[in-house]
């Protein structure tokens, strides 16, 4: 049953060093504030899972929180490379990063299999691609009816899933809408789940067939307005496209990256303080 907690408490109690952690959100609703809190609390040896590692994973990787990354597309969308990710893969800085690489279709199916409590998923995929040669978690099986060969991938079952959503009620039921990505599947595939939300209300008032995560599949709900920044929450905040561009410069060198992380994350106590420092350094609001 979900309890309403501070993000510091939730991350402190629910995530341990060495855990397999999935922070999901497909461009929309990326749980950046929760990622910052993992960095503040100095979590180590994490296996990070995410279809589209973006800035928040660049930060976690650059700060040395991750031992391994399971992913399908690692870039700064519309901007270019993730420099900290590249530095880790190309030069093992600040520590070596093991990678396990899939395609989007594979990972989406693997989350579905995890949510469905199946050991694996089947898909039509990877024909002619070199990826299966470098990832022995991509295999091939035959259909017992037609004999066709299909790709098989193991289910994703993270220890913890973290997502951001628009609303929760006081019992911890969560409502999200717009681009849903794989968030529901990630929450249902994980052993524990943390949801940060823009707002906590008395009554969710969902429309028919809305995407609701019932309170009893969530471990903790944290009220973190703007907690997706520089991603966004439809109906609440706008994507900070400028910051995605600025990150290219900040993250290009180890020094500017480290200085930015110290000032904005390590030296701030929580996301509210981060927002104040961000506003001071950029002259605009973080959400």
């Amino acid at each position: 049953m979900a309890r309403i907690a501070s993000l510091r408490e939730a991350v402190g109690e629910l995530i341990r060093d060495g855990d397999v952690v999935a922070l999901e959100g497909f461009t929309h609703l990326i749980p950046h504030a929760a990622g910052h809190e993992l960095i503040r609390q100095g979590r180590k040896d994490l296996t990070l899972v995410r279809m589209t590692p973006d800035l928040i994973y660049d930060q976690l990787i650059g700060m040395g929180c991750a031992r391994k990354l399971i992913f399908s597309w690692a870039g700064n969308p519309g901007v270019g490379s993730l420099h900290r990710f590249r530095d880790a893969v190309e030069h093992q800085w600040p520590r070596p990063l093991e990678i396990e690489e899939h395609s989007h279709a594979d990972m989406a199916n693997a989350y579905v299999a995890g949510a469905s409590n199946l050991p694996f998923a089947i898909l039509r995929g990877y024909v002619g691609s070199d990826l299966p040669q470098h990832n022995d978690r991509i295999r091939f099986i035959r259909c017992p009816f037609t004999g066709e060969e299909l790709a098989a991938v193991p289910a994703l079952r993270p220890d913890v899933a973290i997502v951001h959503a628009q609303k929760a009620d006081r019992q911890g039921n969560v409502l999200l809408w717009g681009i849903l990505g794989v968030q529901k599947e990630a929450v249902l595939a994980a052993r524990r789940a943390i949801v940060t939300v823009e707002e906590i209300v008395d009554d969710l008032r969902p429309w028919p067939n809305a995407c609701v995560l019932p309170r009893w599949v969530i471990s903790a709900v944290c009220h973190v307005p703007g907690g997706a920044h520089p991603s966004y929450a439809q109906g609440y905040t706008e994507r900070d496209n400028r910051f995605y561009g600025e990150w290219d410069g900040i993250s290009r060198s180890r020094e500017t990256f480290t200085a930015w992380m110290k000032r904005h994350v390590l030296d701030t106590a929580n996301f509210e303080q981060f927002k104040r420092v961000f506003a001071a350094s950029t002259g605009r609001e973080a959400a």
């Binding site: 497909f26 461009t27 929309h28 279809m51 589209t52 992913f71 399908s72 597309w73 690692a74 870039g75 969308p77 519309g78 490379s81 993730l82 990710f85 590249r86 893969v89 190309e90 690489e101 899939h102 395609s103 989007h104 279709a105 989406a108 199916n109 989350y111 579905v112 898909l123 039509r124 995929g125 990877y126 024909v127 002619g128 691609s129 070199d130 990826l131 470098h134 066709e148 060969e149 717009g178 681009i179 849903l180 990505g181 794989v182 529901k184 599947e185 966004y232 439809q234 706008e238 994507r239 496209n241 400028r242 995605y244 561009g245």
Partner: protein, 264 residues
């Protein structure tokens, strides 16, 4: 931009790519050049084109170009927004996509593409973003258009890594691998259009953009490029096409607050 012609190589590339998309086609769109071309098509000759983005929107009609695959307007303007697993399962794998519109970092003569690593996989010289949706888009779409700028580093003799499949080793190799669809039917660059030979499936230069010489295209291709006997010159962008494209990019820059928002 060429002063005498009145349009840039990027513009003619985008317009040429947009023209290939027929009205009513269902198109799976990647961000960047593919999204620019697909939306230009929608705003010009193909108002009924159905744009699907891997983040979930089906039938998106954004007023400005999305900077990311999950921009809010993709969602609010769409006929329907479904989950990402549903996009890949029911819509792409379901065989409902007429055209997959892809970009690429590197391409070979059989239109196989690499978006994974330059250099050995285990010790990459350059680590690229990786596969994303491309392997299954390349495999499952009815046909595939690939848009990228023509440089010797992009058009390589041999890919060190095949991320997503074109025609494999050429000939009927793709068919024998059991893949549905026609594979890449056009590679649209800033210099011209390459299409696969009907038999060998080797990419052949079939159209050069106005003012571009065949030698220029050869010089930016690392393999010995085949040139069609019936080589054409791409029809220059119409004033209306250029106006629609520039208007779209201007609106996009205003909305996103920076000029590099649209990479076309």
């Amino acid at each position: 931009m060429s002063a005498e012609r009145g349009f840039s190589q990027t513009e003619v590339m985008t317009v040429a790519a947009a023209r290939l998309l027929r009205n009513g086609a269902v198109c799976f769109v990647g961000i960047g050049l593919p999204s620019t071309a697909a939306n230009l098509a929608r705003l010009t000759h193909a108002p009924e084109v159905v744009l699907i983005y891997e983040s979930g929107p089906i039938g998106a009609r954004p007023s400005v170009l999305p900077l990311s695959i999950g921009d809010g307007e993709l969602s609010t303007s769409a006929d329907s927004v479904v989950s990402t697993p549903e996009i890949f399962r029911y819509w792409l794998q379901g065989g409902r996509i007429d055209v997959g519109f892809l970009g690429a970092a590197q391409i070979d003569r059989f239109a196989n593409i690499n978006t994974t690593t330059i250099g050995p996989y285990a010790k990459p010289k350059v680590r690229l973003p990786g596969a994303g949706g491309a392997p299954e888009i390349a495999g499952m779409a009815g046909e595939v258009f690939i848009v990228l700028k023509q440089t010797p580093r992009a058009f390589v003799k041999r890919l060190e890594f095949i991320t997503s499949v074109g025609f494999l080793g050429g000939g009927d190799a793709r068919l024998r691998a059991g893949l549905p669809g026609k594979g890449p039917t056009a590679v649209i660059t800033d210099l011209g259009i390459l299409t696969p030979d009907p038999v060998t499936k080797e990419l052949t230069l079939t159209s050069v953009h106005p003012g571009v010489s065949v030698d220029q295209v050869r010089a930016t291709t690392s393999w010995e490029l085949k040139v069609s006997d019936a080589l054409q010159t791409t029809r220059a962008p119409e004033a209306s096409e250029l106006a629609a494209l520039r208007d779209l990019l201007r609106r996009t820059a205003e909305k996103h607050g920076r000029s590099e928002a649209a990479d076309a």
